[in-house]
Symmetry: C2
Subunit: 272 residues, 2 copies
């Protein structure tokens, strides 16, 4: 059931001179769709536009894009719509954009994937040996430079884990290879700050909001790997999984998933 | 005079599900061609194959690729041939490759670009504020994740510099945004080591070889930005520029280009 629109047209290919291919010069969004409609679409489009501003990609067709996403989601009980916006076909050679490129817009619909095998029993989470390079100019963005995540997921597959935690090159815990992470200990909930690397996920934002409004909040801070030996709860977030409890963290079974249960309820109620 | 072959066929487009576009999951080479032939082709193909091995891209069509590069260079007095090899069209969604992808091979011919305005008088070189994230698994590779270079070159354009020097996130000098860099002081020649980030350039390799065989060698080591205040000579390398002397480094005019002159002669003689 894959369907793809490229600049509004069904099918066709991408120019091999597109800077998205040449340099990873673009951004993407992965949107969860239920009951014929994209969820949290405004937040996805806001992040995409902020990313375009930071990379100085002159993307103006947000209204067209919104309509295309809704069109692909319509009539589908459950699907994923992926959006890619690149700076467009290069109008000169070399890393520096000329400034007159016309952004490329790709919107594709995909089946909702099956969860990993052990998902019902809670995830098994371990550390990846693949680290994340730091760059404050790119941190938080869902850009197309994703080789580190590709390498980490290869490892995840090989190790039989459901997801892997990645550290920054500076040694801090950043998040999963395709998710953000939250932890709880006696001091409450905390999650890595992402000013040096990592992707600022939509579900992470919803969790921060829900916990701030209705709970005791989340401390956003540097997280050392050594801290994880004493956490009582951990959960992963992305728009497909929602809040996915971690049952086994580095071989240790965690005793609680109380925060995840409470926050799931709050987020569902707010977005019902 | 652009001509492009995609998996051996002229023209056409790239599948929007190609992992090269989706994640920057691939590699490239930029090959200088003179008098109808690609220069240092064996070195380019060797680096490409080593990159494929490190990323576990099952690229086997090196003989076809070699023939295509030669075909595009034939009859051209001077041109650039760019090669991209990606892991291929995704056969499942997500960062982890399925393992059965068929690599995509893109070979394109481009005009030899005009050098920057001040090139005859020697380059002006300054520091970029864009840093390079470190990752030993990707260091040295000419992979498709190039957003940091794109951002740095935007800055270079804006600052009126011919090239910018980039530091790693750990604060060491790594190289230019599209070149490697060599320095000389009273102790002799030195160049940044690239085990944490940067691209191991073909011309860099030729310089190391020539200086090792016929000169007093090059010290490959960590380079601190503070050291550049006392260097007597600096030059940049890539296969298009060869050895490009730096005339002005961070506003200071350098007194010498003796090493560059000597090494240019040695490399030309070895590859005449």
């Amino acid at each position: 059931m894959i369907a793809t629109l490229i600049n509004g047209h069904a099918g066709g290919g991408i120019d091999s001179a597109d800077r998205g291919l040449q340099y990873g010069d673009g951004l993407f969004e992965t949107i969860a769709c239920r009951d014929g409609a994209p969820r949290w679409l405004a937040l996805h489009l806001e992040r995409l536009q902020q990313g375009c501003e930071r990379l100085r990609i002159a993307f103006r067709d947000v209204d067209l894009l919104r309509a295309e996403i809704r069109g692909l989601a319509a009539g589908q009980q459950r699907c994923i719509v992926k959006v890619i916006v690149t700076r467009g076909t290069a109008t000169r050679r070399g890393y520096a954009p000329a400034g007159d490129e016309q952004p490329t817009r790709i919107v594709s619909r995909h089946d909702w994937p099956q969860p990993p095998g052990r998902a019902d029993a809670g995830f098994q989470l371990g550390f990846s040996s693949v680290t994340l390079g730091t760059n404050p100019l790119l941190a938080g963005l869902k850009h197309l430079n994703r080789l580190e995540q590709v390498l980490a997921q290869m490892q995840c597959d090989a190790a039989g884990l459901d997801e892997v935690l990645m550290l920054s090159s500076a040694g801090q815990v950043i998040g999963g290879s395709m998710s953000n992470v939250f932890f709880a200990d006696d001091s409450g909930l905390f999650t890595p700050e992402l000013s040096e690397c990592g992707v600022a996920g939509i579900m992470r934002r919803l969790v921060l909001q829900a916990a701030g409004r209705h709970g005791s909040g989340v401390c956003v801070r540097l997280v050392e790997p050594s801290e994880l030996a004493t956490v009582r709860e951990a959960f992963l977030t992305n728009v497909r999984w929602g809040l996915q409890s971690v049952r086994v963290l580095q071989g240790r079974t965690l005793p609680s998933d109380a925060y995840a249960q409470q926050l799931r309820g709050l987020i569902d109620a707010a977005h019902a």
